[in-house]
Symmetry: C2
DNA sequence: AGCCCAATTTTGTGATCACACTTCAGCGAT
DNA sequence: ATCGCTGAAGTGTGATCACAAAATTGGGCT
């Protein structure tokens, strides 16, 4: 099954975006959504074939994703794959998210408008619906929409890109964890508090509730990775 | 004058590192050292020619650097260049450095050995020597060595890479600022305090003195960018 | 059956060519 | 001299080919 395509990327209208940018968008979206599991090998030619483009732009997109550590290519081995997460690395990702994302939320607060609140309520509703149905894929999409609808307002390019890079690295693993334990135990509702604080312009509360939201989600993943250390490499042992 | 070469990269002797990795190392080193000024246009073919390689591996290295925002290619215009720094962006870089680097220093503390202390004293001595001679290039090299000798010990890949990316973005501009105002006003000596704290294993003091060191350096740059908003685009240089 | 080695396929990497587009140098007219 | 145009040179992008090395397969062995 092909999890990545060019069609659903940015109905970029009059856009003459480069092919490698479109490929990048398609791949990174798939990664954030967790549609490509950790340790899954991918290949330039296969991706290129699935996307209907030559291997060239795929190489550039992949090189970019490798730089962002959303993909890796094993050292001696020359295979390209989605990196696995060690507990050590996950803790660093958690810390970094706690640095960046609450700050983004704080910076976003002054720029909130009625339209934004409306949009956030829709996103949050979608999150709740997905949780109710136990639809992990829909949950991840809606949750991403909710967070980045806020971050986008912060007018802080560097922080925004940092957040996106962190999500790229967490995405594949998050999907596995939530898929394994179901959506039942997912972080309870900090979103409502956050929306209220955004409405009243209470930047402090926005920041702390964002921190709490992230903390709970990542804590779940930490527990999961501690319990289930090696996500079993699939088949074929080493001789 | 050619500011980037492959020879001084990792006397890699038995190393069979990919060419694009060597090119990346050469370019990023030049950028961190500030050897390529902001807004300076570079081109794939020129770099390839100077490095004695084909444009292909340069493309991959450059794509990586663009992902790290150490290079940019102007939107409509398709030229590749070193990005300029706005005040807004510099403040984000400063904040991010304050997040990552003091934490790296704290994490490094338990792993300090006598050899490390020796190395740090040498690096610090080189810093002082460079300051004495007003040699900006030597200062930047020695200062980088000092900081990353510490960061390397932290055993925190993600944070380490984040720090490196931040230095990549700050490097070109730092060179310009310090070159303009001379090395006289450079941050006074937090290095000594830091080394002492590292010796005694006082992680708290290590962290705070690292924060102070970074704060002062970046504060200088903030002042500089506020005073000298547009670093004059510089017309036509011929080599 | 289980295991090992050889041949085949597939992988990423690098080089080269083609193309559309921008920039720049040079010349002519005002 | 200044302005405006035009041809040449240079730009990043994409496609295709060549190649060494790793992964995979398949057959032959114990």
């Amino acid at each position: 099954m092909v999890v990545v395509s060019l069609e659903n990327v940015s109905g970029g209208s009059l856009n003459e975006a480069k092919i490698h940018d479109q490929v990048y968008e398609a791949l990174s979206e798939a990664l954030i959504q967790g549609k490509i599991p950790p340790l899954k090998p991918v290949s330039l030619r296969t991706l290129a074939h699935n996307l209907g483009v030559s291997p060239m732009p795929v190489r550039e997109a992949v090189r970019r994703l490798i730089a962002e550590k959303a993909l890796e290519l094993q050292p001696s081995n020359k295979r390209l794959r989605v990196p696995d997460l060690t507990e050590k690395r996950l803790m660093q990702l958690m810390t970094a998210r706690q640095w960046v994302e609450p700050e983004l939320a704080r910076l976003a607060t002054p720029h909130v408008t009625k339209d934004v609140i409306k949009r956030l309520r829709e996103d949050d509703a979608a999150v709740m619906t997905a949780l109710g149905k136990g639809d992990v894929a829909a949950y991840m999409q809606a949750n991403q929409d909710f967070h980045f609808s806020i971050y986008r307002l912060a007018d802080a390019d560097l922080f925004y890109d940092m957040a996106r890079t962190l999500w790229l690295q967490v995405g594949p693993f998050m999907r596995v964890v939530f898929g394994r334990m179901g959506t039942v135990h997912l972080p309870k509702d900090h979103h409502q508090d956050m929306i209220r604080a955004l409405e009243t312009g209470d930047a402090g509360t926005v920041k702390t509730s964002m921190a709490a939201d992230i903390h709970e989600g990542m804590e779940l993943m930490l527990d999961a990775i501690k319990a289930h250390v090696a996500p079993e490499p699939k088949r074929r042992r080493r001789g």
